[in-house]
Symmetry: none
Subunit: 367 residues, 2 copies
């Protein structure tokens, strides 16, 4: 792995096959927090294009055409990846590798294929029929407060809000995915009274007291809510549990971390009330929340995009940054190469054809 | 806290009030695994007594009178404590503190008061009417395989087996407690399938699968079994639980640690079968087991001791090392200062008088 602080940016070739550009981007390791090297390479490639004005903020980059078109759209993607796989023999790692026409490695689907499509369009389309704002950013795969896109909204809001539509190139397997589920986390705590486990009757067992929390979650049937014609499947899960301090002490505290993924028709407040109702009688603290985004596919810009690329519209289950554009009042969809079910897996991969197809679809709409 | 590897042992004053000696011992933090500093201090104090021969093995110490008396007895106690309390404002911590005539701090009852009584007797009785083997040892509050007493039995069996009676100075509030419950631990594991929590239906939640384990334990009513006229109350508890690796991953593994304290009329095999029956259908692994000990108060040495100290005989609920002496064929009882119900609590304390009374009773019998 190159040392981001001292190495020169690798020169990226934006004019070859977009899948080869994907591989070149994957070979620059960029786990969240270490995006400097890839941001250097992307910035250098964009600054070489005279039809773009380029701004860098930390490890985020905004590049804009300025053609005075009637409409402006955003194409956005994050530069970071989740950590490299730790299982020996995993192919979803750095550097990338080809197996026939399939490209393996960290970021293959989430989302260096999408970033490669952005860069190829930026290089090729010196005069698109819509003005384009290309956005590349850091820290998407970690807590929301670190997000490079959030920082751009704060520092350079005007560079984003003059667009009427945004496409996030997160993997959708070529479908157009509208909106996204929201997500929130809770800490559900039971307390008891510590005692020696040989005289358990002197204490109160906080782990036993957590039995109904787990039972209610296990028995709960998640709902599927239809929003503007798309079906959003929810989920509600204990994701972590921890209790007890020693093998001979009756535990006086047990914590269950609960994650609720909720349809965009629920507000954060409504989603919280739903979980609090289910876990009534327990000490429930909300620790984190991000609203979902309605699909917005009835907005004119979104409708024209769906028609132009000829793709099927689907709901997005995972939370993505379309929700940030939604908050800015900009309709946004996900549309990118690769199978979203492979994201974060030890076996991440994408086909040469999928990346090329995504590029072709966007070129048809923009050229 | 001093660094056990480099600090000098604190000099202990064995000739002052035994409750002040208790406080000095409590001020040397000795959570299981970190007994080196207290063992150094105890060893140094014993080596200064010319009427004792002293042996050290790891952080265990054996000191013996060699007067050629007709009878030899063991006085034994462990040097370690459970971890310090974590709740702010807990008084059962290190260092100790006095509130009037009451001494608060970790180990006040379990069992630095007992250790102080051993040391005071060792210093005072240069010519007891029975030969005495004083045993101090490490790792009592953790899994049985680490026990310092077990290690002494293995390495220096002959230094223990020439006694005809043993007294373990575990807290009994001045009563003589015969026998003890057995104890065993189990790891009960549920497994599932990891998935992104936004697409929970692709996975299987191992924490949810643990709900019936906790429910069965919470609903279970422990039994009370009568053995040789004493009533042994059992208990069965989840003492630790752990599951999940991240806030956005469906957990694929959850482990519940279960502790069963069982009457001495059950064998280890019978006790294990009882728990396996209750948790039928789950992956149950026994990780630890120690048989209980029948009271044995009809043995002549035990009867003479009970008569001499004039105390009432009761059952012992907690597993104690009397069971190890029982296995060596040596009748053994618990007799020590402090309320056993306070052991391991955040509020551990002992009265000045209780420690002095225990010392007096043993002095009457030995001097």
């Amino acid at each position: 792995m190159s040392d981001a602080a001292t190495s020169q940016p690798l020169p990226l070739d934006l004019t070859g096959h977009v899948a080869d550009l994907t591989a070149a981007l994957m070979d620059i390791e960029s786990v969240s927090g270490r995006e400097a090297a890839i941001a250097d390479a992307v910035e250098a490639a964009l600054r070489a294009l005279p039809h773009l004005s380029v701004l860098r903020d930390g490890d985020a980059i905004v590049a804009r055409t300025n053609l005075g078109r009637a409409e402006r759209v955003v194409l956005a993607g994050h530069l970071d990846t989740v950590p490299l796989p730790t299982s020996p023999g995993s192919r979803g790692t750095v550097p990338s590798s080809w197996d026939g026409q399939t490209l393996y490695g960290r970021g293959a689907t989430d989302m260096k294929g999408g970033v490669a499509v952005q860069l190829a369009l930026a290089a090729e389309l010196s005069a698109p029929q819509r003005d384009v704002t290309y956005v590349f950013y850091d820290h998407e795969e970690v807590e929301a407060s670190l997000s490079g896109l959030g920082r751009l909204v704060e520092h350079h809001r005007g560079l984003l809000t003059d667009a009427s539509f945004a496409i996030l190139l997160e993997p959708t397997d070529g479908a157009v995915e509208g909106g996204c589920n929201g997500t929130m986390r809770f800490r559900v705590t039971t307390t008891g009274k510590a005692a020696h486990s040989a005289r358990a009757w002197m204490g109160e067992n906080a782990i036993h007291a957590a039995a109904p929390i787990l039972a209610r979650l296990a028995e709960h049937t998640p709902q599927t809510l239809s929003v503007e014609g798309l079906d959003y499947r929810e989920s509600l899960n204990a994701v972590r549990i921890h209790g007890g301090i020693a093998g001979n002490v009756i535990p006086d505290r047990c914590e269950v971390e609960v994650n609720f993924r909720f349809a965009p028709s629920r507000s954060v407040e409504q989603a919280e009330a739903y979980v609090r109702h289910l876990l009534q009688g327990f000490d429930v603290e909300r620790t984190d929340a991000a609203a979902g985004a309605r699909p917005g596919l009835d907005a004119p810009a979104a409708a024209s995009f769906v028609a132009a690329v000829g793709a099927e519209a689907k709901p997005k289950y995972g939370w993505t940054d379309v929700a940030r554009f939604s908050e800015l009042g900009i309709p946004a969809v996900n549309f990118g190469p690769g199978d979203p079910l492979l994201a974060h897996s030890d076996n991440e991969h994408v086909s040469r054809q999928a990346v090329a197809d995504c590029l072709d679809a966007l070129r048809r709409w923009l050229a």
